[in-house]
């Protein structure tokens, strides 16, 4: 955990400094907004990573019936959804400057909004059950099911149709924009830094959850 915390602090300081200061490719329309890549995309990577951990722990719960895994799974889902909301907000700010509007009817945007709705459904489901063991069982099953539907929603569906969003509709990711690998220099550290930050937050939240939990 200590390594994760150190990595998170160092890499995020580096991301914040280098992300603002380093040279980026000059492209029409995008201009300086291309720097959003360092903050917006890592949010989604972190969300997917945390939700993967969540559903993995949910599966561990239903196969071992150890209630601890259910709490871990709930905790990761919670933090993951925060990162998803942040991803949507940063994306909306970026869209306002490049597309001229906060929200458009685009497959990638719809997919991510629906993906978040699935997880809001998960929280509604958890709150609607009184009995603790039943709550754990039912919500774990739903969590695994929801995650398996999230993957086609975010990764497969938008790639099949034309999309405004960079990296979709046949666009090969962000390789188009960084011919001189300038962006990768900050992007990969940013991804690792934000994932470490997510793990750190989840760790603290889990301690808090264990203290407030009456079981």
């Amino acid at each position: 955990m200590k390594l994760v915390k150190t990595l998170s602090v160092l890499l995020l300081i580096y991301t914040a400094a280098a992300g603002i200061l380093l040279e980026v490719p000059r492209l029409p329309i995008l201009n300086e907004t291309i720097r959003v890549l360092y903050f917006h995309v890592p949010m989604w990577f972190t969300m997917i990573f945390l939700l993967l951990l969540s559903s993995f722990n949910a599966y561990k719960f239903i196969s071992t019936k150890n209630i601890k895994y259910d709490l871990i799974s709930y905790n990761y889902a919670h933090v993951g959804v925060y990162f998803g909301v942040l991803g949507i907000v940063t994306g909306m700010i970026w869209a306002n400057y490049t597309w001229g509007t906060f929200w458009t009817n685009d497959p990638k945007l719809n997919g991510s909004a629906v993906g978040l709705l699935i997880y809001f459904g998960y929280f509604v489901l958890r709150n609607s059950i009184e009995d603790e063991s039943k709550k754990a069982k039912v919500s774990s099953v739903y969590s695994v099911f929801a995650f398996s539907m999230l993957i086609p929603l975010i990764f497969i569906l938008p790639r099949l149709t034309d999309s405004l969003h960079p990296g979709n509709g046949g666009n090969p990711g962000f390789n188009v924009y960084d011919l001189n690998s300038q962006l990768r220099l900050v992007f990969y550290p940013a991804v690792i830094g934000f994932i470490c930050l997510g793990l750190w937050i989840a760790n603290i939240k889990f301690k808090l959850l264990k203290l407030t939990d009456k079981r």
């Binding site: 699935i118 489901l125 069982k137 039912v138 739903y142 099911f145 929801a146």
Partner: protein, 220 residues
């Protein structure tokens, strides 16, 4: 295993025919909602293809949710207890999948008949559209069966089944709507094949997930 699946299925169908209130109530639900659409689109009727397709699938979605969420609730507690001894979870869930599929096929074709007789018809390539209706019913039933099994575990559940199933069913419904729009013009395999494969892929994921997860869910 096949024998047991079909005996459960036969029992479900027999109960359905004897009681038949669910059958008729879902039919009435479909007809009355289409009639409301018909009245609200007077005097011109539906003019655009987009309206036709989206209203068509939304009606199918809502009536299937009504139909499928009942399929687990009609089992009484003592009968469930009996199932634990004689059936494996796979047998039960596959019989439910087939039963829901049959029910949704009925709902879909009833909707198509009433809808096209009252509101006109934009479909050009019928053979493709009817195949699409079958595959659509299959996907909707695959998606809703596990969700209704989850809803069955929760008291106060009819709203919850709807809330949980909407986000999960949206990708399927988007593909179905897109394919239905294509079927209003000349059919060509090249246009649809990507979406078609994706639909089949989603079905495989859904069936696999239902089979894996139901055995954890059904015992109390």
């Amino acid at each position: 295993m096949i024998n047991k699946i079909f005996s459960i299925l036969y029992k479900d169908l027999k109960i359905e025919i004897n009681q038949s209130h669910l059958f008729f109530s879902v039919g009435l639900y479909v007809i009355s909602s289409i009639y409301i659409i018909y009245i609200s689109y007077q005097p011109t009727g539906i003019l655009g293809l987009e309206h036709w397709v989206s209203i068509f699938w939304v009606i199918i979605l809502f009536s299937s949710i009504t139909a499928v969420s009942k399929s687990f609730f009609q089992e009484s507690g003592s009968r469930n207890y009996y199932y634990y001894f004689v059936l494996s979870p796979d047998e039960l869930i596959f019989s439910k999948l087939i039963y829901n599929f049959l029910f949704i096929v009925f709902v879909t074709f009833l909707t198509f008949l009433v809808f096209s007789s009252l509101l006109g018809n934009f479909i050009y390539s019928y053979s493709f559209f009817i195949t699409l209706l079958f595959i659509g019913s299959l996907s909707i039933s695959n998606c809703l069966t596990l969700i209704s099994a989850i809803g069955h575990q929760v008291k106060n559940n009819s709203i919850l089944t709807a809330v949980l199933s909407f986000p999960v069913i949206i990708p399927i419904l988007l593909i179905l709507i897109k394919l239905s729009k294509i079927s209003s013009s000349e059919f060509s395999w090249n246009i649809i094949q990507d979406d078609f494969y994706l639909l089949i892929l989603l079905n495989i994921i859904l069936i696999a997930m239902t089979k894996i997860l139901f055995k954890f869910l059904w015992r109390n």
